[in-house]
Symmetry: C2
Subunit: 245 residues, 2 copies
DNA sequence: GTGCACCAACATGTCATACAAGTTCGAGAA
DNA sequence: TTCTCGAACTTGTATGACATGTTGGTGCAC
């Protein structure tokens, strides 16, 4: 791939203490930079006591900093064991989206309105870029959907199909965004499948797969558009997203 | 508008202490629920000491909980003054997107690949749903772009145009997502404008505005698609997003 | 009376210490 | 060899103390 602008982590100067800035801020920045730069590549953070000595701050500051990193989903802390670095994922984004929707009274229908263009675009790229392995995974996902016994399995197979498409774009941000949306639509989707069955989803997936195999971008986009619009129609108005995690 | 599924905050039971769960978790949940439910509607949280008594926990716990809410961008804390509730915004999402892009080496070009379908869809909805006030604001934004002296003003006018379109969809999630993307593309856009001038942006905006005034959804979408693709072409490969906030 | 400077009360930031509770891992028993 | 158990380590919570920043009112100067 050609040289392309990247989101980089400039030389981390954040360690040097800034006068007037709370100690906590620089501590958070230092730890975040270390994590982003791949220090702690074994996934284990040093114990809080060690960090205190290294950074020259008290355990309160280290603890509060780690709490922030925990909410950012950069690390996971549990009592007794040292904190672990989490792999990059969509959980943080799902959190922020969830909070936003709760506080602005946005509806699931409006969320699906965002999903539509994303999935359509993903499908278009996938039709252009998918490789043999991706096609195989799509076939497997379709088969899993037909053979799934429980609603849980059906929902998983459905999600897997869309995820393979997103991965086939070669653009990780598509996967990231789709995951975040899926997280919020998860419960809703499960109930929809339980109510209307898998027929609509299966028909949609087959049409999409067929178009993709022909490398027909236009038809693939159209099929996905229809598939999503159909899913929106089937949205159960009583479905809500639970606020607890 | 019809009755539609909403993201709701179910009756907050999270206050009841769960055995084995760290005190901190329930404290975070309690405070978050209170904020989401509109307690503290004056925007001011009680002092930490008061919260300690109310929740029956020590100040350490309250402080760590507030740190988490701070990283979630739900509150803002500053020394000396009590913490304030922040209005819902896209900052948290921009954070998570930023972290994800840093850790996965995603490029700005890939980010723009996501922006394309979103903006096109937004423009389509805007062409259908925009009202007189929205049209007026679009005209003003175009005029501001032509009359802007500094790169800063140009960049602002550019952003304003896209923001009005997003707001015209009536779907707050579009605004939310676009804001988060814009935050990351901000520096890049500024440099692009400084390098290639406003002519391409201005031409694009005019074409879009013209199509929207005719309520021509197809033409509006096409014009926005061309506009964004043009912006992607002009992306300066040397542009990077700074990691500090 | 009006406006300013200043100070007291208050709130948060940071530190130190102590103990409770959970995890890990090796020594020793079966 | 395998299982059990406990010591050492690590995080969770509480408390008290002091530093630093903010707020609002008092009282002086004009």
């Amino acid at each position: 791939m050609a040289t392309v602008p990247r989101v980089t982590q400039p030389d981390s100067l954040s360690s040097l203490p800034v006068k007037g800035e709370p100690l906590l801020n620089s501590t958070v920045n230092t730890l975040r930079d270390r994590i982003m730069n791949g220090a702690y590549s074994d996934g284990m953070l040093p114990p809080q006591g060690t960090l205190c000595e290294e950074l020259g701050v008290s355990r309160s500051v280290v603890r509060e900093a780690m709490r922030q990193l925990q909410s950012l989903r950069l690390i996971e802390v549990s009592q007794g064991a040292p904190a672990r670095v989490l792999p990059p994922g969509s959980a943080a984004m799902a959190d922020s989206l969830h909070h936003f929707m709760c506080r602005t009274d946005a509806s699931l229908t409006q969320l699906a309105e965002i999903r539509l263009p994303l999935e359509v675009e993903i499908t278009g790229f996938a039709a252009e870029r998918i490789n043999a392995e991706g096609l195989l995974r799509l076939h497997i996902a379709v088969r899993r959907l037909t053979e799934a016994k429980t609603v849980e399995e059906q929902s998983d197979a459905d999600l897997e199909f869309h995820r393979v498409l997103a991965e086939s774009t070669g653009n990780p941000i598509f996967v990231f965004l789709l995951d975040a949306l899926a997280e919020l639509l998860r419960e809703s989707r499960r109930r929809t499948i339980g109510r209307v069955g898998i027929s609509p989803a299966l028909a949609g997936h087959l049409a999409i797969l067929q178009a993709i195999e022909k490398r027909d971008v236009k038809a693939a986009r159209a099929a996905m558009g229809e598939h999503i619009r159909c899913a929106i129609r089937d949205l159960d108005p009583s479905n809500v997203i639970p606020s607890n995690r």
